[in-house]
């Protein structure tokens, strides 16, 4: 039974760490399916986390924090959009630039405004997201098997956690069952077809980029308003890059994205769990190896199985009217 509880605990933290990955990877899904590659997920998430932490601390309102996160993240998306859609610059370069601008600005502004070494002030309960407890969660806690699964694994998460998982089918529905989704996928495959059909390629791609900004806003708000009680400098710690890897690993499909994010989240949770604990047969594993494992596995996965993943055909290429 102890083993079972351990599993439940690991799975529970898997869900916890997967949530920002899911938000960010879905964010990437919208822009990349529209043909705009984005390695600036990290920066947008970080900017959003800072905005959320700062505004929630000042206003004391979690909702204002979330809105600020979305606003900042969308603004950063628009910068990326302007560089890569309007100015037809390199999408990779633009993403890198945004990551640095945000990494620097969050520290400078945070320090200037709050003077707490790059942190935002610790948030009160009101200014944070609270966990949701399902009905009867306490009552059934001791029922074998079902109990821990219901009350620990399913119940007791932040509202944003449920939002993230509901966004997976919702994103699928938007992409495959709405007019917007049809056009968005079309513009990532053949922008010429969209242009000649009388739809603006530019405006469509901007909308996709804005969707990305909104979702990254959620990812950042989750970090500073749910997972932690405030912003800490550099708190995304590479999650944006892991989300990007998950997106590629999932071959740009919504349900696959959820699975990939859960897998990477699981690795992360396992690493935290195994810290200092010797593994059976293997013995003590250096903590650094455990920390690097998600990245190592990503490289191995990328090298081994990603070969057939076909990115959107017009991805990474700015649209120029052909003559």
């Amino acid at each position: 039974m102890e083993f079972f509880d351990t599993i439940v605990a690991i799975l529970e933290s898997t869900i916890r760490v997967s949530v920002p990955l899911i938000f960010a990877a879905l964010a990437g899904l919208f822009t990349e399916r529209a043909g705009v590659f984005d390695i600036g997920l990290e920066g947008k998430m970080l900017g959003a986390a800072f905005a959320a932490g700062a505004v929630a601390a000042v206003t004391g309102s979690v909702l204002m924090g979330l809105l600020a996160a979305i606003l900042i993240s969308v603004l950063l998306s628009l910068v990326h959009g302007y560089a890569s859609i309007t100015q037809r610059g390199s999408q990779i370069v633009s993403g890198v630039a945004i990551n640095f601008i945000v990494a620097g600005s969050t520290v400078i502004l945070g320090e200037a405004w709050f003077r707490q070494g790059g942190r935002t002030p610790a948030l009160d309960a009101d200014a944070r997201f609270q966990t949701v407890t399902f009905p009867f969660a306490d009552a059934v806690k001791d029922v074998p098997i079902f109990g821990p699964i219901y009350s620990n694994l399913l119940s007791g998460h932040f509202i944003l956690t449920y939002v993230a998982f509901l966004l997976v089918p919702f994103s699928w529905w938007v992409l495959y069952r709405t007019r917007f989704g049809l056009r968005l996928r079309a513009v990532g495959e053949n922008p010429g077809a969209v242009d000649t059909a009388g739809i603006s390629v530019i405006w469509l791609r901007y909308r996709a980029v804005i969707c990305c900004g909104i979702l990254c806003g959620f990812a950042g708000a989750y970090l500073s308003l749910a997972m932690s009680a405030g912003f800490v400098k550099g708190m995304t710690a590479g999650k944006g890059y892991i989300a990007l890897a998950a997106l590629i690993f999932a071959k740009w499909r919504p349900v696959n994205i959820m699975m990939a994010c859960l897998l990477f989240g699981f690795l992360d949770a396992l690493a935290i769990r195994l810290q200092g604990n010797p593994l059976p047969f293997i013995g003590q594993v250096p903590v650094q190896l455990m920390q690097a494992l998600p990245y190592i596995l990503t490289v191995i996965l990328l090298a081994g199985f990603i070969g057939k993943a076909v990115p959107p055909k017009a991805g990474g290429v700015p649209y120029v009217k052909e003559r």
Partner: protein
């Protein structure tokens, strides 16, 4: 109520210093098929792109049905009742026919309702115009003829009364083209107006009611088709008598230089593009490979020149095998006397951002004469470039100029000079005159014949049947990846056309 569908008055358009359209006037009558003919680069596509709202004219007016309209984007064109079938299809390949037809004309935010409506409408259009196509098929799985049909359906779905077709037959077999002409005839009978752009005189004579001729950005004449002739149109197009034949003597075929046996090549998707092809090429002859674009010619050239792996088969160069299924290496093949002028000079044969001299050694950069150890011998490269510029009359004669700044004909000369001056045993040439001005065409044809007369073996691939017939000593016809026949150069166009259509093609046309 006027009987004029479209009137263009004084349309003018420049791109930088290139004056693409000069003061164009054009009147297209309702319910007619109006041809617009001109050479590549005459400004036809630009004019039609202006009409479809893809570009804006610098000056001039567009009148549709007698009313002045502003067409600022394709949307405005569509709502004025103008539809366009582009030369390169504007289709999303991994979407279904239905999704493509609907795209941009969906009538609600949620797809389900749009789809069912579109399905009904598509059925109606199919019946009315005999344009059958499975609405649920993926575009990438359809043959080009059907893809084009989808493009026409797209326009009709948007209730187009005026249909512009830009070089619609370039990718079609002759029977597919005939089928298209029948469809266009039907559309005309239903009262639609059709603008038909081509550079092929035969097509103009076959289906148009009126024809306008463009030359170097200007509209030079408009004629009733029944009052004109191929000769007159040709002269109007080029501005002087066209050379219908290339002067060349008898061929003296010698030893077999290139022997291809049972060669099979698949593309990246695993589709068989070259299917069990065998032929031989002798010294001192030009063998032309005729075929509609996309029937395996490109893959054949790539496999022989070592750029693409073949699945099976053997190729002998000078009697020695080329490892076409394994490690054939373009550099090694060059050393063994095989030169290759690729079909796509912009992306393959040249690096447009290199200067002329740098492109002059592309593929021959391992040659000792351009190197000092691992270093480039820039003086030797420069001198070599200057010599070729003289010999091939490449203009402007500046080896330091970026290749992108040369005209199409001069770019092609850069490639030809590089590949021919090596004195290869075998020369493989794809589309030698695509996008090349008339003057350069003559020069290039002459050089190819000279190569033959020097005893080189020349393999020529071109989608221009006239070019194949004028240059070749033997003609091999490819269809669907197979060699479907071999003919002498005096075979009639009709005979070759039937071969190019293949058996399956003929069946489809009969339906």
């Amino acid at each position: 109520m006027s009987d004029i569908a479209i009137e263009l008055r004084g349309i003018d358009k420049s791109f930088g210093l290139v004056h693409a359209n000069k003061n164009i006037n054009l009147t297209v009558r309702k319910g007619t098929i109006h041809g617009i003919i001109g050479e590549n680069g005459a400004g036809k596509s630009t004019l039609m792109s202006i009409l479809y709202g893809f570009y804006q004219a610098d000056s001039g007016d567009i009148l549709v049905g007698g009313n002045r309209v502003t067409i600022k984007d394709p949307n405005a064109a569509i709502s004025s009742g103008i539809g366009m079938v582009h030369q390169h299809f504007m289709l999303v390949e991994n979407f279904t026919v239905l999704e493509n037809v609907m795209l941009g004309a969906e009538d609600s935010q949620i797809l389900n309702t749009s789809i069912s409506k579109a399905r009904v409408e598509l059925k109606r259009l199919e019946k009315e115009y005999a344009l059958e196509v499975n609405p649920d098929a993926l575009i990438e799985e359809l043959p080009v003829g059907l893809q084009q049909r989808v493009e026409i359906l797209k326009a009709l779905y948007r209730k187009a009364d005026i249909l512009i077709l830009d070089e619609p037959t370039g990718v079609l077999t002759p029977p597919e083209a005939d089928h298209l002409f029948r469809i266009l005839g039907q559309l005309k009978d239903q009262g639609k107006t059709i603008i038909f752009i081509t550079h092929k005189l035969r097509e103009i004579m076959a289906i148009t009611d009126e024809v306008s001729v463009m030359r170097r950005g200007e509209m030079v004449a408009t004629r009733k088709t029944k009052d004109t002739s191929v000769e007159e149109l040709a002269e109007l197009m080029v501005g002087r008598r066209v050379l219908l034949r290339v002067d060349k003597g008898e061929a003296n075929p010698g030893a077999v230089k290139l022997a291809v046996e049972n060669l099979t090549v698949r593309d990246s998707r695993g589709v068989t593009m070259v299917d069990n092809v065998s032929f031989t090429l002798r010294a001192g002859e030009i063998v032309g490979i005729a075929g509609v674009a996309g029937n395996g010619q490109s893959e054949l050239l790539e496999a022989i020149s070592g750029i693409r792996r073949a699945v099976s088969g053997t190729v002998l160069l000078n009697g020695k095998p080329i490892d076409v299924t394994g490690h054939a290496d373009p550099g090694d093949l060059r050393n063994r006397g095989l030169a290759h002028v690729p079909e796509d000079r912009h992306h393959v044969g040249l690096v447009l951002k290199f200067d002329e001299a740098e492109n002059g050694i592309l593929g021959y950069h391992n040659d000792k004469r351009y190197l000092n150890g691992v270093f480039l011998d820039t003086k030797a490269i420069q001198a070599d470039a200057e010599e070729k510029i003289r010999k091939y009359d490449i203009r402007p004669p500046n080896p330091r100029l970026k290749t992108a700044n040369f005209s199409g004909g001069n770019q092609q000369k850069i490639v030809l000079a590089r590949e021919m001056e090596r004195g290869p045993d075998v020369l493989i040439i794809g589309q030698p005159t695509r996008g090349v001005d008339v003057g350069a065409i003559e020069f290039i044809h002459k050089r190819i014949i000279e190569m033959r007369d020097q005893g080189k073996a020349v393999l020529l691939v071109s989608v221009e049947l006239d070019e194949i017939r004028a240059l070749s000593d033997r003609i091999i016809v490819m269809f669907a990846g197979r060699v479907v026949g071999e003919r002498e150069p005096d075979a009639t166009e009709g005979e070759l056309g039937l071969l190019m259509a293949g058996v399956e093609g003929r069946k489809e046309a009969a339906e």
